[in-house]
């Protein structure tokens, strides 16, 4: 029941908007979307406490089932998704989406949310793939159709196609991996697969599966060197699209690693984990460096996402509970932080008509103190400042790499930890670069030394931004609830794999 409340409103709302309410004005569409998102959020809260489970046959001949369940690993992500969807819908209020009808815009947002929620709750391997793919078309529409109206059509098209084709490439490998998994093990139930922990598979099979599955997820995460779709997608997507993309879609990749790859083929994952860790830290440094010279603010935030997801993957590949906890926390943290950053940066870009760091107006702290405040909090969290939500995931994943599991080459992982720590310093570099260019400085115009309320954030939008800021601060000060939620299930997953796995 609660699961239905979680999943059905965005689906129905999205379909309703796309098919029935096509011509309706933005206000009504926004209201419908907000209602659906709010219901879904209620559902999310309910499933977090009740942890219900649904399991019925769907396509028996393929062994496909409607199998949905909720556990501690998914709960933070479900709450994040549901809450962010509502916030994004509210944040988009009063903005006429460029390029298409408001109904399509809000419909696409709701359907994206539905796909993500389905991904986080589904417990069937093939169903996971289907849910994984659900977000593709709506997000593609958001980028291609509602993207930055200042960008030439070719750029928009290129960005949307990159997003689509990169992601589809990933999911095609994922599909092969999942089907192979299902045929080799004879079950598509992810819980059973995790419980078996690959005990029926040979080492070679595990490695092959791990490579296929991880290759599929890595593109979505995105891991270096398959990250090049992300910056164009972000710089083109509308604010709502960017927020959903960064805060939710990328999480599907890491969640997939936690849910489908690590517990199911622990032995195979252990074999490729060192490579994964190296790619992750290369991505951290690579993206951090790119941020130091990137001129487009949105692309910069996108690159920073690559770096942050690098920490998440590093934690995951360490093979320790600490690492997985750190990764799951880092997931949430990055979701909130990048969500806030894209909200602020997106709105500023539409206000300035540019996101070029060299030509944006200075002294945001003078001109729009609230935006300025939000920007400072966002970037402070992005550089992993303690007391804000970004800190825990990063420092703990460095710790986990330093103390990687016994099955991992400890020397290599300690080197990775050192490199990741250097990446934290780079994060400080680019964050301060942005703040120095945008936030600090002297107001260029003569009249502009005083704040102009019209140009600052207010009303519902300010409430949304303030809520995100509050989440960042609270998550930083009180990480215990999130960590406690994920703790038991992480322990269960890894215990199962250490007892059952590893013995071909």
């Amino acid at each position: 029941m609660a699961l239905s409340l979680l999943l059905v409103p965005p689906l129905i709302g999205g379909v309703l908007l796309l098919l029935v309410l096509r011509g309706t004005p933005a206000r009504l569409c926004g209201a419908v979307a907000a209602l659906a998102a709010a219901l879904s959020l209620v559902g999310a809260v309910l499933v977090s406490t009740g942890r219900p489970r649904i399991d019925t046959a769907w396509v028996p001949s393929l062994g496909l089932r409607w199998s949905f369940a909720v556990d501690g690993i998914a709960i933070p992500l479900i709450l994040l998704t549901a809450a962010l969807t509502l916030l994004v819908v509210l944040h988009s209020r009063g903005v006429e989406p460029p390029g298409g009808t408001p109904a399509t815009f809000y419909g696409a947002i709701l359907l994206t949310s539905f796909g993500a929620l389905a991904t986080f709750t589904v417990r069937d391997a093939i169903g996971f793939y289907i849910a994984f793919e659900l977000v593709l078309v709506p997000m593609w529409v958001l980028i291609g159709r509602f993207g930055d109206e200042h960008a030439p059509a070719a750029v928009r098209t290129d960005a949307a196609n990159r997003f689509l084709l990169f992601t589809v490439t990933g999911s095609a490998f994922l599909l092969v991996g999942l089907i192979l998994l299902v045929t080799l093990t004879g079950t598509s139930n992810l819980d059973q697969l995790a419980a078996a922990a690959g005990s029926s598979l040979s080492h070679g099979q595990q490695v092959l599966l791990a490579v296929l599955l991880v290759a599929g997820m890595a593109i979505k995460v995105p891991l270096w060197p398959v990250h090049t779709w992300l910056p164009p997608a972000h710089s083109t997507a509308p604010t709502a699209g960017s927020v959903l993309l960064a805060a939710i879609l990328l999480k599907m990749g890491t969640y997939g690693l936690v849910r489908v790859a690590i517990p199911v083929v622990p032995d195979g994952f252990a074999t490729i984990a060192p490579y994964l860790a190296v790619l992750a830290v290369v991505g951290i440094i690579w993206a951090g460096l790119a941020c130091l010279v990137e001129r487009d603010l949105k692309r910069l935030v996108a690159y920073s996402s690559v770096a942050h997801m690098g920490f998440v993957v590093l934690g995951l590949s360490s093979g320790t509970q600490t690492g997985m906890q750190a990764a799951l926390f880092g997931n949430i943290a990055h979701g909130v932080v990048s969500g806030l950053l894209f909200m602020v940066v997106g709105r500023l870009k539409s206000q300035w008509h540019t996101a070029d760091l060299e030509s944006v107006p200075r002294a945001l702290r003078e001109l729009s103190p609230r935006y300025g405040f939000a920007l400072v909090v966002g970037f402070a969290a992005a550089l992993g400042l303690p007391g804000l939500i970004g800190f825990w995931g990063e420092v703990l994943s460095v710790y986990s790499a330093w103390t990687a599991a016994a099955s991992r080459p400890s020397g290599l992982f300690q080197v990775c930890a050192v490199v990741a720590a250097i990446g934290m310093a780079l994060a400080a570099g680019y964050s301060l670069r942005v703040l120095r260019q945008v936030w600090a400085g002297e107001a260029a115009s003569t009249e502009g030394s005083a704040a102009d309320p019209a140009r600052d954030v207010s009303g519902v939008e300010w409430a949304v931004v303030a809520a995100m800021v509050a989440a960042i601060v609270l998550g930083g000060l009180l990480p215990a609830p999130v960590l406690a939620t994920t703790g038991d299930d992480v322990a269960r997953l890894l215990t199962a794999s250490s007892t059952a796995g590893g013995m071909p």
């Binding site: 030439p152 059509a153 070719a154 098209t157 290129d158 196609n161 990159r162 084709l165």
Partner: protein, 137 residues
């Protein structure tokens, strides 16, 4: 009975037929090639149906025996039908197009492929310029 001769004949027919189909451009000659192929099959079928082989189950022996010959008649019928249609089309082709070269470039192409500079795999038909790639005839 020795089957060498009929089988050889069949092989020769098949070879000539294949050559005619692949190498000839004139539609009628191609048709003849096909006929030769079919005849080769017919010869083989008829020759083989005279053979009673030990591994053919007794229950179906009669079917097997006569099957080859029946099949031949089927194929002859089939060939007749095909040729009727084929000749009709070849005639129409001659009347409308003016030649019966089956390997000529097809007529009535709506547009040739155009070389478009594309960044990603599928950016032809750009919504910004829907007329792109439309150049004729």
């Amino acid at each position: 009975m020795h089957l060498t001769a009929p089988v050889l004949l069949s092989a020769v027919l098949a070879g000539i037929g294949a050559y005619g189909v692949l190498a000839r451009r004139n539609a009628v000659l191609v048709l003849i090639g096909v006929e030769l192929l079919l005849s080769s099959a017919n010869v083989l079928l008829v020759a083989m149906s005279t053979q009673e082989r030990p591994y053919v189950l007794s229950e179906t022996t009669s079917v097997a025996m006569y099957g080859g010959q029946v099949m031949t008649i089927f194929i002859i019928t089939l060939a007749a039908a095909e040729i009727v249609v084929a000749l009709a089309i070849v005639l129409a082709m001659f009347r409308v197009i003016g030649h019966i070269d089956v390997t000529a470039a097809p007529e009535g192409e709506i547009e040739p492929a155009t070389d478009e500079p594309v960044a990603a795999a599928a950016s032809a038909g750009d919504p910004g310029s829907p007329a792109q790639g439309v150049s004729g005839p």
